[in-house]
């Protein structure tokens, strides 16, 4: 599986270390909340709501350079909207990988 990275963050931050750190803090703060919201929606079979949260999460995938996972999220978002959660295990792996990665930066 592909590995998260902060190339995009470094690119837009440039020399602005303050922004870089602030942005990473925002990711660390916002990601667990969205992950929890997602888990609750899937656990309670609220696939439409889950689809909305996947939409938000997929931006973080692209910010962290996870291109394949982004494509997975696009498909999963659409399928959840139609009530199909067949990709949930694969999606969960991406979330867990990001969670672990965010603890290292």
């Amino acid at each position: 599986m592909e590995t998260p990275n902060i190339k995009y963050i470094d690119e837009i931050a440039g020399d602005d270390v303050q922004f870089r750190n602030k942005f990473i803090e925002i990711l660390k703060m916002e990601f667990p909340i969205e992950k929890l919201e997602y888990s609750n929606s899937i656990h309670n079979n609220r696939t439409d709501e889950g689809s909305q949260i996947v939409h938000k999460l997929k931006h973080k995938f692209s910010v962290l350079g996870l291109e394949e996972s982004y494509r997975l999220a696009v498909t999963f978002e659409e399928e959840l909207r139609l009530g199909n959660d067949r990709l949930k295990n694969e999606f969960q792996k991406v979330l867990d990988t990001i969670e672990t990665y965010l603890k290292t930066i």
């Binding site: 995009y8 837009i12 922004f19 602030k22 942005f23 925002i26 703060m29 939409h55 931006h59 910010v63």
Partner: protein
């Protein structure tokens, strides 16, 4: 260009806000995580640009565009190209940015915004100058209707049951009220500067403390109207 950012995702707002700081022409005056709060703000404050996320729960970006009567220029921010293309049917939408936004793409977007705002201003100026030249007012003097061009009128003064319309060539006394003539005159040219006076804004020569000079007429400024007068001046 004053701008606001509307996105329910804090990370996305942070990116746009940071990119705006790289462009001297852009000044972010407020950020919102939902469209409803932004609408309340927009009802009280004019902005030049909205950076707007389409996909927000409850009230979407497109709902917001449809709600605003006179929307400023809007840049959509989205992860879905399909949504963005559909949104081009709205005149206020100048561009759309796909997440994650790069600086190069953002710079191009700002160029589009600058052009769109400049083109809008020049259209307004053109409309106003056309109006100035072609529109006029008829006043009734001894059962004769006399045509006065707006740009000939200097001052209108209340004098009891009459008003005096002072023009560059001649003054006319008309049996009417200041309120009635005020309703006929275009607001972008004329200004009710004092209880008894309406002035042609474009004829002001200078302003001193509590009066303005229009040709040889010294017109008092009422205290309550002074802030509005100052707001409309193109002050250096």
């Amino acid at each position: 260009m004053n701008c606001i950012i509307i996105d329910d995702e804090a990370a996305a707002r942070a990116v746009v806000s940071h990119l705006c700081t790289q462009i001297p022409e852009l000044d972010v005056i407020q950020e919102f995580d939902n469209a409803i709060e932004a609408i309340k703000f927009l009802n009280q404050q004019d902005v030049d640009v909205i950076f707007l996320d389409i996909h927000m729960p409850g009230f979407t970006g497109i709902d917001l565009v449809q709600t605003l009567k006179n929307p400023p220029k809007i840049v959509l921010i989205t992860s879905d190209t399909d949504f963005a293309i559909a949104a081009y049917e709205y005149e206020a939408i100048v561009d759309y940015l796909l997440k994650p936004i790069t600086f190069d793409r953002f710079e191009k977007c700002v160029q589009k915004l600058t052009k769109a705002i400049a083109s809008q201003s020049s259209k307004i100026n053109k409309d106003e100058s056309t109006t100035d030249l072609t529109e006029d007012l008829y006043i009734n003097i001894d059962r004769r209707l006399i045509k006065l061009k707006y740009n000939e009128i200097l001052v209108v003064e209340a004098q009891g049951d009459y008003i005096e319309v002072k023009t560059e060539k001649k003054n006319y006394k008309v049996h009417t009220t200041l309120k009635k003539i005020k309703d006929k005159l275009p607001e972008h040219i004329f200004f009710h500067i004092h209880r008894s006076y309406i002035i042609n804004f474009k004829k002001i020569i200078d302003i001193e403390d509590n009066s303005v000079l229009i040709e040889k007429n010294v017109i008092p400024i009422s205290r309550s109207n002074r802030p509005e007068l100052m707001r409309r001046l193109n002050l250096l």
